[in-house]
């Protein structure tokens, strides 16, 4: 493995984006950052600007108002970067999947590295998802798709 790739996997700084979330996923993301879960042992840190970030934790169905700002946040994050969709809403729109006010999930707006479903997802699930996006732990479930009839 390349030494710089190793450094990227050992030091991931996340930026937390609220894209119209109801605050439930935000509270769970803050739970992950508490001393109880101790993400600092994996080198994960919360930063306060996308210019410093390696991963964007996006919560919420992407509302039409926030779409432009979300794209600006994505473009101001320097490469290499990961986009992680946290919660049912950013995974597929949640209960707002066909609302006129949202764009029905993060996958319609940005290239997403990993989806973490749940309403809200447990802190362990968020931690596992970030570790899986970095390739530190194996995948546990297969991708499933459902069509509306």
């Amino acid at each position: 493995m390349n030494a710089l790739d190793w450094c990227f996997k050992k030091s991931i700084w996340v930026y937390h984006v609220n894209a119209g979330s109801c605050n439930g996923c935000d509270i769970e993301i803050l739970d992950v950052l508490t001393p109880y879960y101790d993400v600092e042992r994996f080198g994960i840190r919360l930063v306060h600007t996308p210019r410093h970030a390696d991963a964007l934790l996006v919560a919420g169905p992407v509302t039409r108002q926030v779409r432009e700002r979300l794209i600006r946040v994505y473009e101001s994050t320097p490469d290499p970067k990961l986009v992680i969709a946290v919660g049912s809403c950013s995974t597929g729109g949640g209960i707002w999947y066909n609302s006129y006010a949202t764009l029905g999930g993060l996958g319609n707006v940005l290239p997403v590295a990993i989806y973490i479903p749940g309403c809200p997802p447990r802190p362990e699930a968020i931690l596992y998802g970030v570790a899986q996006a970095l390739g530190l732990v194996p995948k546990q479930v297969e991708k499933q798709e459902f069509a509306e009839v």
Partner: protein, 89 residues
């Protein structure tokens, strides 16, 4: 001043009390600070190579520059910084 003096001066400047030693010991002391904080909070804390991994990652990140930049844009900042030296006057 012979060659040995000059090479010793370069060694002092670059290696031992100079740039390399202070950089490594400074990074390790930031790790000690974070580890002590972690132990006080009853958690494990970062591994010892964490500051070095951070530096390596930041070196590998792509640089973003504002599109309307000019070379003299940073001159006022430089003048302001030079007008406030860190030593007492």
């Amino acid at each position: 001043m012979n060659l040995a003096d000059i090479s010793l001066a370069i060694l002092y400047t670059l290696i031992f009390p100079g740039f390399l030693f202070t950089a490594v010991i400074g990074l390790l002391l930031t790790w000690v600070d974070r580890k002590v904080t972690a132990v006080i909070q009853s958690r494990i804390g970062p591994p010892w190579f964490q500051p070095f991994a951070d530096i390596g990652k930041l070196l590998a990140k792509r640089m973003i520059l504002p599109p309307a930049r000019k070379p003299l844009d940073f001159l006022p900042r430089l003048c302001w910084q030079l007008s406030a030296p860190p030593w007492p006057r």
